[in-house]
């Protein structure tokens, strides 16, 4: 089988694996629920992780709002890409001594997680930080892994995967060609 054929096959099986959003979300919910203690704080990475964290906070019947983490201030590609400021970090609890589960939509190179942990440390010293993601794809560039992943997929470098929210608030996972 040629390299192009096997890439296409991998891409197709990835598309199949992420098609069923309700099933993916259920798997994430179960995984995060199993990790939660009574004093756990959920924090979603802006913006995809934050969408998921809101739903998880509600479905796990946790009080208050989930935190939001922005990677903007600690990204390692500032010199190349400049500053893309979106939703700022918002944490309404004391990070010192907190047990935190960070939620993100896609785990890819691991650089966003590294930036977000640095951001967290600007607020204090957490007792523990765990990572839960909807989609774990191949391509790690740092030694970072998820504690919970709803699905693991393989994609060629030419493809990107992202979480989308439509106007009605419905989430879906989209795989497309990288620009």
């Amino acid at each position: 089988m040629s390299a192009i054929d096997s890439d296409a096959l991998r891409a197709q099986s990835a598309v199949d694996a992420v098609r069923d959003m309700p099933t993916l979300y259920q798997a994430l919910l179960l995984g995060v629920g199993a990790l939660c203690r009574s004093d756990t704080h959920l924090v979603g990475i802006a913006t995809g992780g934050a969408w998921l964290a809101e739903r998880l906070q509600s479905d796990l019947k946790l009080s208050g709002e989930p935190g939001v983490l922005s990677s903007a201030m600690h990204r390692d590609d500032f010199a190349q890409r400049g500053l893309a400021a979106r939703e700022p970090t918002r944490l309404d609890f004391d990070v010192n001594g907190a047990h935190i589960i960070v939620i993100d939509d896609v785990l890819y190179t691991g650089r966003t997680i590294r930036a977000v942990i640095n951001e967290l440390y600007d607020f204090g010293r957490p007792a523990s930080v765990a990572l839960a993601v909807l989609v774990d794809r191949n391509g790690r560039e740092l030694p970072i892994q998820a504690d919970v992943a709803a699905v693991r997929i393989e994609l060629p470098v030419s493809k990107s995967v992202a979480l989308r929210q439509d106007v009605a608030g419905e989430l879906s996972v989209v795989i497309k060609d990288r620009r």
Partner: protein
């Protein structure tokens, strides 16, 4: 047709220098304001530092005296983890006869990344911007009577913070508009962002009729000028810029144009009062108003740091050669 690109933008339309608000599209102004939003929260953290400009050098070149503006730029740069060098130009090479461009060339040889420049000559920052290397950025901290873009931007940020939407706002700028680079920057900012009405208010000697060309309504009567407005920006009466008898006295000015609590009632009940500082209590504005509930003068200072952090981090992330 010869098209001259705005020297502040690179080929991709990204901000690489901040020289004046005039000529910048609304999208760039909004980008600065949105970015500044993020930095406001940095200033509330315990660790008030982010690493965006780590290893970069910001040189404060103040050819004109200013402790306040220079200090806020220094704080902003340090919160971005940049190294800050303050050049006391008056006591240095310029007084020994060195030309402006030679000064810049020498400093560039020391690997400066950002120059923050305040100069008494309008246009000085433009001259510098034309002569620096592509990776070096120039921020105008006030040039002559021309422009003070970071003050204009922080004023826009303040207005947006309290009033949200520019399109139904009436803003009155009261005072020595003729000599005020802040007023010019505010006017450009407000008209670009779509303010419903901008009025300039003051005596004819300080608020000339030809200001109407900038798209503002000229008023020489304070009541007419601030009636039903949403924002009052009071400007300092600048003694050092006035040459010739443009006013009989500061007291005379206060009698006709001083912003008092009674006069503020001509404006809308929820109108905000702004002032770029430093304030002359009892000249352009009464203590009652400065310390009153409608004053947002101190928040302006806080927002000024966030806005300057936004400007520095935006220009530093954009390459002039693109």
């Amino acid at each position: 047709m010869l098209y001259r690109r705005n020297p502040q933008l690179n080929k991709n339309g990204e901000l690489v220098h901040l020289l004046s608000i005039e000529g910048l599209p609304a999208s760039i102004l909004r980008q600065v304001l949105d970015t500044a939003e993020n930095f406001v929260s940095v200033n509330d953290r315990e660790v008030k530092k982010v690493p965006l400009l780590r290893g970069r050098s910001v040189f404060n070149l103040f050819f004109e005296n200013s402790t306040r503006t220079r200090t806020t730029f220094e704080i902003a740069a340090k919160r971005l983890s940049a190294d800050v060098i303050n050049l006391d130009i008056a006591r240095s090479s310029a007084s020994k006869g060195e030309s402006l461009l030679d000064t810049i060339a020498n400093l560039s040889a020391m690997a400066a990344d950002i120059f923050v420049v305040r100069h008494s000559e309008s246009g000085a920052p433009y001259l510098i911007a034309k002569h620096v290397a592509p990776h070096v950025h120039v921020i105008n901290a006030g040039d002559g009577r021309h422009s003070h873009p970071t003050q204009g931007l922080l004023d826009m940020f303040t207005i947006r913070h309290y009033k949200k939407d520019f399109s139904n706002l009436t803003v009155a700028i009261v005072g020595d508009v003729l000599h005020s680079r802040v007023a010019r920057s505010d006017i450009h900012g407000l008209t670009t962002l779509g303010a419903a009405e901008v009025r300039v208010v003051g005596p004819k000697t300080l608020v000339p009729a030809d200001l109407a060309q900038m798209g503002v309504r000229v008023c020489h009567n304070l009541e007419e000028g601030i009636r039903d407005c949403d924002v009052v920006i009071a400007l300092r009466l600048q003694n050092e810029r006035m040459s010739g008898a443009l006013l009989p006295s500061a007291q005379e000015y206060f009698t006709s144009y001083g912003l008092t609590r009674e006069r503020l009632q001509w404006a809308k009940p929820d109108a905000i009062v702004m002032h770029p500082g430093p304030i002359n209590r009892g000249v352009e504005i009464d203590s009652d108003v400065v310390d009153g509930a409608q004053s947002v003068i101190l928040p302006q200072v806080t927002f000024g740091i966030a806005v300057r952090m936004a400007v520095m981090s935006l220009v530093a992330g954009n390459d002039a050669s693109e």
